[in-house]
């Protein structure tokens, strides 16, 4: 077995844990916080709620609202300028993956300078980052736990993966009460994103016993609880999805991901689609591609998905993937690529597949895919 590293932030979890944000910020030395969020969170009232909590603790703040879905390089660069100009000392973000990744990008540039594209890839950030307190508003993106940051390069139309130990924030607050204000589609797509994290991390070439346990736990919970959460919206089921997301994030942050995320980043950079939308389309197909390269672990996943063993590893693994097909079809989500990519863009798929080969996530796939193999996968699901 190789040597594994396992790092996570301090986690504050539970209903009402948002109320601890002031204390946490203070413990990080905040006098003037740099707060990142977006209009959706503002409208839902959570930003105001956070600002009140900070004010009660006597912490001043400057607000950076310039976040869109799939954050762009220039937004991060603007944010970093604002951070430095205002003499902020701690970064606090409340939002989904786009908000949290923007905050991380700002952290990199605030202390390391340069352009965000300078840091694309693994372990390219040299200087320590400002303290970070991240508050997730979805159960899936995992940015609040992970050492990943995904930023879109506007010119190249690429989602850049930036991966480094210091991107693990100091503190992550996960408050399931916040999930109650989220629409159904976001709950589904976030949970399926977490499912993809868990599955890709489980079969990753650098998975370890410390990450595998978290992967399997997450798969088990999401299969059980997502249908319940969609129908009932009960706080118990949303809480379970939060726990699954934490486990999936601990796994993928430390074991990395695979070919499915490499392709998702490449597609997302080109078409500015919501990240979660692509997983129900791609995941089963990438799993079928991976099956011969780690049949044993794919069967282990099958056992958790099916809650039984069909005798042979191959049969169990294959039936597990088929069960996922049925699972995804039970929700109101696109299942073919042509539903989210315009017909006339079909010709760009070759370039997208060539780009996916370069993504850091492809390196840890059971067998890194070639662009021809990626093309076969996207044609299959077109």
């Amino acid at each position: 077995m190789h040597i594994s590293k396992f790092a996570i932030p301090e986690i504050i979890f539970g209903r009402g844990s948002l109320n601890h944000a002031g204390q946490c910020a203070r413990s990080l030395g905040a006098k003037k916080a740099f707060v990142v969020s977006d209009s959706g969170i503002e409208e839902a009232g959570w930003l105001q709620c956070l600002q009140n909590i900070l004010e009660r603790e006597g912490i001043r703040w400057v607000y950076y609202p310039g976040v869109t879905s799939n954050p762009r390089d220039f937004q991060v660069e603007q944010g970093a300028e604002l951070y430095v100009k205002n003499g902020a000392d701690v970064i606090i973000a409340i939002g989904g993956g786009s908000v949290l990744d923007t905050a991380k990008g700002v952290a990199i540039l605030a202390s390391n300078g340069g352009k965000i594209a300078d840091y694309e890839g693994a372990n390219r950030v040299a200087r320590p980052l400002p303290p970070m307190l991240l508050i997730t508003t979805t159960a899936g993106n995992g940015s609040d736990i992970s050492q990943f940051c995904i930023i879109t390069d506007q010119k190249r139309h690429v989602k850049m993966s930036i991966i480094t130990r210091t991107l693990v924030p100091n503190i992550s607050i996960i408050d399931p009460l916040i999930l109650r204000t989220k629409p159904e589609s976001l709950i589904i797509h976030s949970a399926i994103d977490a499912l993809a994290h868990a599955i890709e991390a489980y079969v990753s070439r650098i998975a370890s016993p410390l990450t595998e346990m978290h992967s399997l736990k997450a798969v088990d919970i999401i299969l059980d609880q997502l249908p319940v959460a969609v129908v009932t919206r009960s706080i118990e089921s949303l809480e379970q999805l939060s726990i699954a997301s934490i486990s999936a994030s601990m796994a993928f942050s430390n074991a990395s991901l695979g070919a499915e995320h490499a392709l998702a980043h490449s597609l997302g950079g080109q078409f500015d689609m919501q990240h979660g939308v692509v997983h129900p389309i791609l995941l089963p197909s990438v799993m079928r591609f991976n099956l011969p390269f780690n049949t044993h672990k794919m069967a282990e996943l099958g056992r958790v998905i099916l809650k039984r063993d069909l005798g042979s590893d191959e049969d169990t693994a294959r039936a597990g993937i088929e069960r996922l097909d049925t699972f995804f079809a039970s929700f109101n989500v696109p299942l073919r690529l042509r539903e989210i990519v315009p017909e006339q863009q079909h010709s760009t798929l070759v370039a997208i597949c060539q780009m996916a080969v370069q993504d850091a996530c492809n390196l840890t796939n059971p067998k890194p895919a070639t662009w021809e193999e990626f093309l076969q996968i996207v044609e299959e699901v077109w």
Copy 2:
């Protein structure tokens, strides 16, 4: 569900991970490290190995060897003096629980001053501690992961529990190769200590879904792998015990312990016995005491121990405890208190039980035990 906090160090795990100690120390800013260890580790050659690694990285060090089993208050105070006098900047310890707890005690006093007894209890350490890199040489004590530090007060004959978030070290290195130089009895007692951590954390009043998963995983692995490790000494089984110990430590550090550890600390303070020796004697009896106060969770433990369900929660829980009795009896370890406490000291048991009530661990037991209940437990196992 209450709000849960979950914090662990960065973990470097795997065969040969000790070789990363230099790099890790450097990442913590070490120029002159304060190295803590003991004569057993010196004799086994691990201290020399660590010092070579530090020297290769150009890190100077000062060595504090003054550690005995069950470290005393004055040893910690001597260590802190040496730390300050030498202008050390990072604390590195290699050893079992006693060595690691000494290092933590030195860290507290080096930056907070005073006497170590000033910090007894939960959350009494105000100032930040020097960076700590801890390298465990046993699979069980968990001090390298946890926010606990246990130091004996010489005058009162008490093992003081000091519990605070900042006692979680920055980095923990866990190298299963080191376990190969350990005697059989230490492997058994360390694994049973980890088993007690896992079980007490699981039924703790502040357990959370984040800790429960780790508890059950640890129980499962230890029951399976300890008998294999004792017979074969295979590196695979020692590695599994290391993983179990990491899981158990993540659980108890964040969910705390219970009445069994309260009693173990009280007995250990009085009789200076090796901490691990007392668990096979006390654990089943404390579990029987706890059964009516959380039958559901005790049954969940029973299911993992037995790998089956006997129908009723009560029956499953009880059979699980009986299985532990048999499990402990299969090793060459004391099973009655009179084997480790001199007959003429029987009369001190009342005072020991009165002391155990005060231990911070008793607070999180399913029902905190009274001294009379503790007395009944120790008489049962006398």
